[in-house]
Amino acid sequence: MIEVTNLYKEFDEVPVLKGISTTFEKGKTNMIIGQSGSGKTVLLKCLLGLHTPEKGIISFDGRIHTELGIKERRQLRQEIGMVFQGGALFDSLTIEENILFPLKMFANKPNSEMLDRVNIVLNRVNLENVNKKYPAELSGGMQKRVAIARAIVMNPKYLFCDEPNSGLDPRTATVIDNLIQEITKEYQIITIINSHDMNSVMEIGEKIVFLQNGVNAWEGSNEEIFKTENEAVVDFVYSSNLFKKVRETYLSKTK
């Protein structure tokens, strides 16, 4: 379990996270949602260790991030897989080299074994015959799948995704969402997704954390988000007519 307790982060004396506390559980797709500037990305970067919070505790299965030594922190980072918004694949490397990269850096295994692992994860994300291609030769959806493959190649315990389906068509976005959820269940990992996409929030959000102005304003499941009366959540999630209608239909059916 990842536990966040009373997390504060500021930039140039402007507070961005103002005492966030929450938990993220194993085998669940956890989602962080909120308006632009609400602190989602900063929270994710604090969890990843890319930002150091001013105050608060982040604990990964009992290991408190700020209290870890360099070696333990490096070990923890090897247990984290990350899917960046734009994929963040290394342009100068082929798809195979991209996925091989963490293995080459950290796993002391023969090359043939590492290549087998690359092919296993590529198959897992349903990609074939792309090994020797460069990221620029793939579509956005395929790049995201490669990013997922790279994120899971080291068998991570924690998977972080920053807007994994931004810029994708609805069908490909659903494929990516389902893939992330399947992987979460299959590998029993803790998945945290930072998203703006209400469709994926409704589809795969088993736990949703709603941030507003750097504060954890609401938490619940994708079932509970339909029923909530929290004004800020309703205002944000049901801002489109389509989702308003979906909610009305859901509520009328459950009455």
């Binding site: 260790g49 890319l50 990350m82 734009g86 963040a88 290394f90 080459k104 850096m105």
Partner: protein, 246 residues
């Protein structure tokens, strides 16, 4: 005040750069890749410029010697001195600052804005060490060779200029380049080259690594990197000349 902040940040960056590489086999691969990107791919431009500028230096010297009392072998002598002491180490370094410096800043800046550097950090990799150290060592290893080649081609360019223009005899030119040859000048030039190679890789790396924003900022950072690298090279050239030859 802002300059001091940047200087401090630059030295803090160097502290991260000079750490033990995470994996030597990966480091070796990166080192040879950088030798190709930063060194071998600059061979063409360095050879072309050195040959023609060497020719121009010889022609200009010949045309400015009017007095019959000045021996013609001084053309070869002056061309050799000018090329070895200043043209090859300093001006070739400024050309490399433009070519290689902008490449380093733009490639690292693009990695920064497309989150590729964040991806390295998340994996637990010291991104500065991984990205910058191979560049520095590749430049320190290859640039002295490049500058030696530049010296040779500059002098050869001067020789051919004499043959083509008939402004001086090739025998005089060859006598001039052999006259009063001091190997210490080569040492001086290579010492400067090593210092400049360090500057050419680290200042653009600093500008690329800490870029914020998008493609426009990457472009601006590249320009800034080339300007600052050239300024630092010129200043260091002055101080090194004072220290070594003064």
């Amino acid at each position: 005040m802002n300059y001091l902040k940047h200087i401090g940040k630059y030295f803090l960056m160097l502290r991260q750069v000079f750490r033990k590489p995470q994996k030597w086999s990966v480091f070796r691969e990166l080192f040879f890749r950088e030798v190709e990107d930063l060194g071998l791919k600059s061979l063409g431009i360095i050879m072309f410029i050195s040959f023609f500028v060497g020719g121009v230096v010889a022609i200009q010297t010949a045309m400015n010697i009017d007095s019959p009392f000045i021996p013609k072998y001084l053309i070869g002598f002056a061309t050799k001195r000018g090329i070895i002491l200043e043209f090859a180490p300093t001006f070739m370094s400024i050309i490399l600052a433009g070519k290689v410096g902008s490449y380093i800043t733009s490639s690292m800046g693009t990695m920064r804005v497309t989150e590729q550097i964040d991806a390295l950090e998340v994996m637990g990799i010291n991104s500065l060490n991984y990205l910058v150290l191979p560049k520095i060592l590749a430049a320190l290893f290859f640039y002295p060779l490049l500058i030696l080649l530049s010296m040779f081609l500059g002098i050869v360019g001067g020789y051919f200029a004499g043959i083509i223009t008939d402004l001086f005899f090739s025998e005089d030119y060859i006598y001039g380049i052999q006259l009063d040859f001091d190997p210490y000048f080569i040492k001086y030039a290579l010492t400067k080259t090593v210092v400049f190679a360090f500057v050419i890789t680290t200042i653009p790396a600093y500008h690329g690594f800490y870029v914020k924003g998008g493609s426009l900022e990457v472009g601006r950072a590249s320009t800034k990197a080339v300007v600052w690298t050239s300024i630092v090279i010129i200043l260091l050239n002055y101080f090194l000349t004072q220290m070594i030859l003064g």
